[in-house]
């Protein structure tokens, strides 16, 4: 059979070349697959390292002891304990700050109250010595008792040493003529006159006036001598107890009201003449 006799269109099979090509393709693909496996392996290794790092960060598990559930659980438990300790610490700090805040609030309230008290005392003392007019001084004493203390029925009594009896200077809540005659030698008022210590009967603060039983008897002094008393029979209905400032106001009146009255009385006795204060320079 010659070449010219070969059937046209049918290629001659080269089995050797085909085999070689198959083998080459097989090995090339094998190599590619191997490379792909190596890349996957590398990627997975990297992921393992990543996960170990995350686990360590999350649970404090040592990087060299990865993998077991026990380790992960222990890490999480440790983390929870750590967070709880942190929370407890924060709560303690918060409680400390809250306590401090409450202290500040209380101190602020104290300071505000003290400020108000001082303002009232300042106004009262300033007013007591703001005039030498006897009627005005008397009115100021009444106003302090009514407006600042909250007394309702009360009187200012002065000791008449010649008659050894009280004289009513002024009264509020009761007509001057109806003020009971009080002894200078017996009873609660006389005790205050003798001893010089004020009487505060707290059981009488929230009750109606009983002219037989004063709620408050406060001495009026010039120096060490008691020259009169303030007698309070009842307080305004909304005033059921005395505050610290009220006791201070009675102290203030005790120490200053009588001397203010005395000064005003001496001025009144001058009958309009100038007080000639300059003459004091020769008396000191």
């Amino acid at each position: 059979m010659t070449k010219s006799e070969e059937k046209p269109g049918i290629p001659e099979l080269d089995l050797v070349a085909t085999k070689r090509e198959f083998i080459e393709t097989f090995f090339r693909r094998g190599a590619e697959f191997t490379e792909e496996l190596m890349r996957d392996n590398e990627r997975l290794r990297y992921r393992v390292v990543q996960l170990e790092a995350e686990l360590k960060a999350a649970g404090g598990v040592a990087a060299d002891r990865p993998g077991t559930h026990e380790n992960a659980l222990a890490g999480l438990v440790a983390r929870i304990a750590s967070l709880e300790a942190e929370r407890d610490e924060l709560l303690k700090r918060y409680e400390g700050v809250a306590r401090q805040s409450e202290d500040f609030h209380a101190r602020y309230a104290d300071i505000e109250r003290e400020n108000n008290n001082l303002a009232n005392l300042y106004v009262a003392s300033y007013q007591l010595h703001s005039t030498m007019d006897l009627r005005e001084v008397t009115q100021i004493i009444l106003e302090i008792l009514l407006n600042f203390v909250g007394a309702k029925t009360f009187a200012v009594l002065l000791v008449d040493e010649e008659r050894r009896a009280f004289r009513v200077l002024a009264a509020e809540g009761i007509e001057k003529a109806r003020v009971p005659v009080l002894s200078t030698t017996e009873g609660r008022v006389a005790d205050v006159l003798r001893g010089g210590a004020p009487l505060f009967d707290e059981s009488r603060f929230a009750t109606r006036a009983d002219l037989e039983r004063p709620a408050i008897v406060a001495p009026l002094r010039i120096g060490a001598q008691v020259v009169g008393v303030i007698v309070v029979w009842d307080l305004l209905v909304q005033k059921t107890t005395l505050q610290e400032v009220d006791y201070e106001l009675f102290n203030l009146l005790g120490a200053h009201a009588a001397s203010a009255l005395q000064g005003a009385k001496l001025t009144a006795e001058l009958a309009g003449r100038a007080p000639a204060l300059w003459a004091a320079a020769d008396l000191v």
Binding site: A119, E143, L236
Partner: protein, 111 residues
């Protein structure tokens, strides 16, 4: 009350205090000069504080002036009555000077 209040109110810078003896005297003084605020007691001779508030609120020229009542009357119905008549504030005695000053400043918008 007047003397102590006047003294306390003088602590407010720029405030001039005009005193009146009762409600009628107060209305007379209000007709003579413009006022910014009124402080009144309830218990006053001739015209009491509540009647004064009523008159002020019914007067076109005076009706917008803030009124503070300072009184010994501590009952809630007294307070309600005064506020219903048009009082802006109701302070019961005993008073604290800073409390009154603060209320005056508040109503005059000085704070």
């Amino acid at each position: 009350m007047r003397q102590l209040l006047v003294f306390a109110l003088h602590r407010i810078r720029g405030l001039t205090v005009i005193e009146a003896d009762d409600g009628v005297d107060a209305l007379k003084k209000m007709s003579q000069q413009k006022l910014d605020i009124i402080l009144t007691d309830i218990n006053m001779p001739i015209m009491d504080g509540l009647k004064l508030v009523k008159r002020v609120r019914s007067d076109e020229a005076l009706k917008d002036i803030p009124v503070i009542i300072i009184t010994t009357e501590g009952a809630d119905e007294d307070r309600q009555r005064a506020l219903a008549l048009g009082a802006n504030a109701y302070i019961t005695k005993p008073i604290q000077a800073p409390q009154v000053i603060a209320k005056v400043k508040e109503l005059l918008k000085l704070t």
